[in-house]
């Protein structure tokens, strides 16, 4: 392993911790989407680092493009859902969305 790849893995681990912590601690739906976005960035960082480390950057780039497309579409559809929730409940607080609770 090169020093650069180790730095990449450590940075990705820190990003994953930030993302998961925010996912658990926050109650705002928009912030939850943001945490998912940060987790995706961590994955992107590892893929690009691995592509560079193994010398298969072209393959890594093709995976990156797939990830970016899926990430964007997930975010757009999820934003639409959040907006729908806001329209129905006048809030994006997850503690107030309990209509389906038994």
């Amino acid at each position: 392993m090169t020093l650069l790849f180790i730095l990449f893995i450590i940075s990705a681990a820190l990003l994953i911790v930030v993302g998961i912590y925010s996912l658990v601690a926050t109650r705002n739906l928009m912030r939850i989407l943001l945490s998912i976005e940060i987790l995706t960035k961590a994955v992107s960082l590892v893929i690009i680092g691995a592509g560079y480390e193994t010398g298969k950057m072209a393959a890594a780039q093709s995976y990156m493009i797939t990830i970016i497309v899926i990430e964007v579409m997930l975010l757009v559809v999820a934003t639409g859902i959040v907006f729908g929730v806001y329209k129905n409940t006048a809030s994006i607080d997850t503690t107030k969305i309990n209509d389906l609770k038994g």
């Binding site: 392993m1 090169t2 020093l3 650069l4 790849f5 180790i6 730095l7 990449f8 893995i9 450590i10 940075s11 681990a13 820190l14 990003l15 911790v17 930030v18 993302g19 912590y21 601690a25 926050t26 705002n28 928009m30 943001l34 945490s35 976005e37 940060i38 960035k41 992107s44 960082l45 690009i48 680092g49 592509g51 560079y52 480390e53 193994t54 010398g55 950057m57 072209a58 393959a59 780039q61 093709s62 990156m64 493009i65 797939t66 970016i68 497309v69 899926i70 990430e71 964007v72 579409m73 975010l75 757009v76 559809v77 934003t79 639409g80 959040v82 907006f83 329209k87 006048a90 994006i92």
Partner: protein, 165 residues
């Protein structure tokens, strides 16, 4: 190498700021900064195509979608805002401690695996990325087209609702 360390530190600090800042508009801008830093890293590593995608789509389009959605939500009162701010600070008080613990743990685990202090591996770009995408990932492309269509319908519904409002 110092540039890369600086960029990676900037990436983690921006991500932390992104989850800790209270104002959602500033959060959207910080997220764009995270994407921009990531695209610079990609560019430096030679992933030019992915860097352009990341910069234009993640830094541009996602910020626009976020700001559009934030502009539709209501502004809360100052008292409510101050109360939420206090609660947020309490919730995020453990984050720096966990980050330092993870950093130390990762260094302990990964350091013995360090083979070379050379910062960059032998740059070998096995194959052209276009050939790999069009020849080797046809199923992925089909999936991407379907996902893009789903996203387009999502955007249409989203903006239709905004127009109605």
């Amino acid at each position: 190498m110092p540039v890369m360390i600086l960029l990676l530190s900037g990436l983690v600090i921006s991500a932390m700021a992104c989850v800790m800042i209270r104002d959602l508009l500033k959060v959207a801008i910080t997220l764009a900064a995270v994407s921009a830093i990531l695209s610079v890293i990609m560019f430096l590593l030679g992933a030019h195509l992915a860097a352009v995608f990341e910069l234009s789509v993640c830094s541009g389009l996602i910020t626009v979608v976020f700001i559009s959605a934030i502009s539709m939500t209501r502004v809360i009162s100052k008292e409510e805002s101050a109360e939420k701010d206090r609660a947020r600070r309490k919730r995020f008080i453990l984050l720096p401690v966990i980050l330092i613990a993870v950093l130390t743990g990762a260094l302990f685990i990964l350091w013995p695996h360090l083979n070379s202090l050379i910062p960059y591996a032998e740059a070998a770009n096995a194959g052209n990325e276009m050939t790999i995408i069009w020849a080797g990932h046809k199923a992925d492309l089909l999936g991407q087209i379907i996902i893009i269509l789903a996203g387009v319908f999502g955007v249409l519904i989203f903006f239709k609702e905004i127009e109605k409002k």
